[in-house]
């Protein structure tokens, strides 16, 4: 048995993992924490912009017959809001949390493919700019977040608004797919010794499952938006009924992606909730196996119910019955998870800090969204409420209540780990009550509005419809929630400098990330932790069991077996590189070019190929054997 690293060795290890200083380091870093932080800052900015769009629309709808927005501006606003929130915020922020947390929870120094993570971010940023830069020049998609043809086809969607939307999706989906492969490979092959499948933290499970779902669902939206661009650019006939195409084909492919996407967003949130509930209840999560199996169940069901977005299309009745039953069945695993969280609180000794408050707000809000989802899953009832404000209320309850509330809780929970300082509890609680209260005040009336016949995506309505008062309440609530969001961000900003020092483990957490200093050094762990339970920090409270033997002078990680996590070999981990950024730039040229000419797919492939060759060119000695050997 060997000794722990000496301080001098630990310093040399830190140097091996350190980024170059300054701008070059910024552009070349492959540190998962820096990459994730970028994602999160970008997302915060986008959430602010999308929130302002939402507020603008709510003001327009607050009173009947308002003229402050033209229909064009309104249509652009909801399209930009929806596309931003679904493609550029919800999915990426969950990936960001995985990129930041998964290596830390696994006791690792890096992700499986660090450069791929850097590439994911740069490409994602390309998608962000793809949508928002043209917006600054007045070219904004105006057909919603699911641009159905023929409205988005060559006949009715002139200009480049639709193309921009479609290629923004290609950007973000390539980025998301790369991130998912990265996370899944990390979870499968880079778990700490002893972390068998049964000892994987729920959050890590949730991200692995969401990653697999991403792999099997996102290709559908890339395929369908490519078909749409081809219809628009080179006159293919996929969605042209007059030439044997079918407009409903678009909807099938879109929702094959679109429904799993909801769970890709929700499962990581369920992972946050599980971790927070466990820590703040001071007991092992009740029903760990039930929670994980529920996640797997949700993931499997998710691919069997896309048609419930299309009940009003007029499909055969037998199909409707099947998809009704399949969609409602999701209530079972989701309900079991809720039970496990409440049971953990019930049997534990909860302490009510802000992260746990967010979990309570999540349960009270998300369950409403889940139950309205059961209603919307009934084919006949859905045909009344789909495309109305009832559905607007439903999916905001699910996405904000079910995913953003846990995310905000997670943000408060891991903020001290990331920054070394605690957020202000007082401001945190203020933000919590403003957001949860404002949200419910703002969105609950929309259920009623939908039942009273108010369709989605209308820029105005006349006084005679009787929708005015509830819309005013909805606007008021949204404004309160937005104010709460600003308080939340202000708290994060202020606490970075002025928060109380957190120390490595302010909450008494159970998982490995709480074993390292806050903020963690670039290499995360000096030693390889060894895991003996689901809650290693609770079962090894005197001293953390570790292994030594990874290289100190270069970047190296441990690869373990898939099921038992027994050590297999030591893998070199790549150094910082400019290649991911160059590759992302090359891909950006190709994607943007393809909006204007199909030939971009040919000439644009050249720089992409060059950048990828630079990226993957292995660094080794010149050959001294073989026909092309160097003779010295």
């Amino acid at each position: 048995m060997t000794e722990p690293l000496t301080p001098e060795q630990a310093d040399r290890l830190a140097v091996s993992w350190r980024d170059a200083p300054g701008l070059w380091g910024f552009l070349t870093t492959v540190d998962h924490k820096r990459i994730a932080a970028r994602y999160i800052l970008t997302v915060v900015l986008l959430m602010f912009l999308a929130g302002m769009l939402a507020l603008d629309m709510r003001l327009q709808l607050a009173w009947p017959d308002m003229g402050r927005m033209t229909p064009q501006l309104y249509n652009e606003s909801f399209s930009l809001h929806g596309s931003t929130m679904l493609f550029l915020v919800s999915v990426p922020v969950m990936e960001a949390m995985a990129i930041w947390l998964v290596p830390l929870m696994l006791g690792q120094r890096a992700l499986a493919f660090p450069r791929l993570a850097a590439f994911s971010y740069w490409l994602y940023l390309g998608g962000v700019l793809m949508l928002w830069v043209p917006h600054a020049f007045g070219i904004t998609p105006d057909l919603g977040w699911f641009e159905y043809p023929p409205l988005s086809g060559p006949g009715y969607g002139p200009g480049h608004r639709v193309d921009i939307w479609a290629q923004m999706i290609t950007f973000t989906e390539v980025a998301a797919l790369a991130a998912s492969v990265n996370v899944v490979a990390t979870v499968l092959k880079m778990r700490p010794p002893g972390m068998t499948l049964a000892r994987i933290p729920v959050f890590v499970w949730s991200q692995a499952i969401a990653g697999l779902m991403t792999i099997f669902s996102l290709p559908a939206v890339m395929l369908v938006t490519s078909m749409l661009i081809a219809d628009r650019l080179v006159s293919t006939q996929f969605f042209a009924p007059s030439a044997g195409g079918d407009v409903i084909l678009f909807q099938h492919l879109f929702w094959w992606f679109g429904h799993p996407e909801v769970y890709i967003i929700f499962l990581p949130a369920a992972g946050f909730v599980s971790m927070i509930v466990e820590t703040f209840s001071r007991r092992t999560l009740f029903g760990h196996v039930a929670v994980v199996l529920s996640m797997l169940g949700i993931a499997a069901l998710a691919f069997g119910l896309w048609v419930h977005h299309m009940f009003a299309v007029g499909l055969p009745r037998l199909g409707n019955d099947f998809y009704t039953a399949a969609s409602m069945a999701v209530a079972l695993p989701a309900g079991l998870q809720i039970f496990c969280w409440i049971a953990t609180l019930w049997s534990g000794r909860p302490r009510f800090d802000t992260p746990l408050l967010w979990v309570l707000g999540f349960i009270a809000t998300f369950v409403i969204g889940g139950l309205s989802g059961v209603m919307a899953a009934s084919a006949p009832l859905d045909q009344q409420i789909t495309d109305t404000y009832f559905i607007v209320a439903h999916f905001h309850y699910v996405l904000i209540g079910g995913a953003i509330f846990p995310l905000l809780g997670a943000f408060c929970y891991w903020y001290p780990k990331a920054t070394g300082r605690l957020m202000s509890e007082r401001l945190g609680k203020l933000a919590f009550w403003l957001i949860v209260g404002g949200f419910n005040l703002g969105f609950f009336p929309m259920h009623l509005l939908g039942l009273m016949g108010m369709p989605r995506r209308v820029y105005t309505y006349s006084e005679g419809m009787g929708w005015g008062p509830l819309n005013l309440v909805a606007t008021l609530g949204s404004a309160i929630a937005v104010a709460g969001g600003l308080v939340f961000v202000a708290n994060a900003w202020w606490s970075r400098r002025h928060g109380a020092p957190a120390g490595p483990d302010p909450w008494g957490g159970s998982t490995l990330e709480w074993a390292v200093p806050s903020p963690p050094p670039q290499h995360n762990f000096d030693h390889l932790p060894v895991v003996d339970s689901l809650t290693p920090l609770w079962t090894q409270k005197d001293a953390l069991q570790v292994m030594t033997g990874l290289a100190i002078e270069r970047r190296e990680v441990l690869v373990t077996s898939v099921i038992e996590a027994t050590p297999e070999y030591r893998q070199k981990s790549p150094k910082p590189s400019i290649a991911p950024l160059l590759s992302a730039l090359a891909v950006t040229i190709l994607f943007i070019g393809s909006i204007f000419t199909p030939w971009a797919l040919v000439w644009g492939a050249v720089p992409v190929a060059v950048a990828l060759v630079v990226w993957f060119w292995p660094q080794r000695e010149r050959a001294r054997t073989g026909p092309l050997r160097v003779r010295r």
């Binding site: 048995m1 060997t2 722990p4 630990a10 310093d11 499986a112 493919f113 797919l177 998912s180 492969v181 990265n182 899944v184 490979a185 092959k189 880079m190 792999i215 290709p219 559908a220 395929l223 078909m227 080179v234 006159s235 293919t236 006939q237 996929f238 030439a243 044997g244 195409g245 079918d246 084909l249 200093p517 000096d526 030693h527 390889l528 060894v530 920090l537 001293a543 953390l544 069991q545 570790v546 030594t548 033997g549 990874l550 441990l558 690869v559 077996s561 898939v562 050590p567 070999y569 030591r570 893998q571 993957f616 060119w617 292995p618 080794r620 010149r622 050959a623 054997t625 073989g626 092309l628």
Partner: protein, 205 residues
Amino acid sequence: MSDARPCKVVGDVSDLPESASGAKHLVWWGNIGFMAIEGTAFALAAGTYLYLMSQTQGWPPAGTRPPDLFWPAVLTLGLFLSEIPNLWVRRRAIAKDERGVRFGTLGMTILGLLLLIPRGIEFAHLNVHWSDNAYGSLTWMLIILHTSHLITDIGDTAVQAVWLFTHEVGDDQFADVEDNANYWTFVVLSWLPVGALIYLAPRLG
């Protein structure tokens, strides 16, 4: 800097090897991940084809001849025969035979480029333009989807061959050759359903 918690050393990994091959290797899983993504795309494209076929009277639509069979038959035969050297290269990679992988990847590159000839001629014998009707669009979509994979892997093999001839080959590169050979098998196998749809489905419909 050291870990925030006191620690107790219970083992050491310095005796472990510095690389692995096959399913033990980390990159192998990344490769599988991307194959899963592309396989999903192929499956969805095939599903799209079958969906529109089921929605349409007459397949191919009246007035359109099904694509000719000669050149795709040549290509299919060629793809299958290419598996013989491909699997040989894979075995040489696992055996860490430097000479074997160098000439093997070179051979596979040449073979791949030769296979692009029948593939190129195929395009001229589809007997439909992508803008004619949805059937034409689907036919072109499937063949372009497959061709892009073919070209990508040939390019990858070519770069690999250049590198292998000019550098000392380490364990990681043998693993790369193995992964690349697996990918070629993926490209060959994915042609079976895709080719069947393009060339056989119009003769059944």
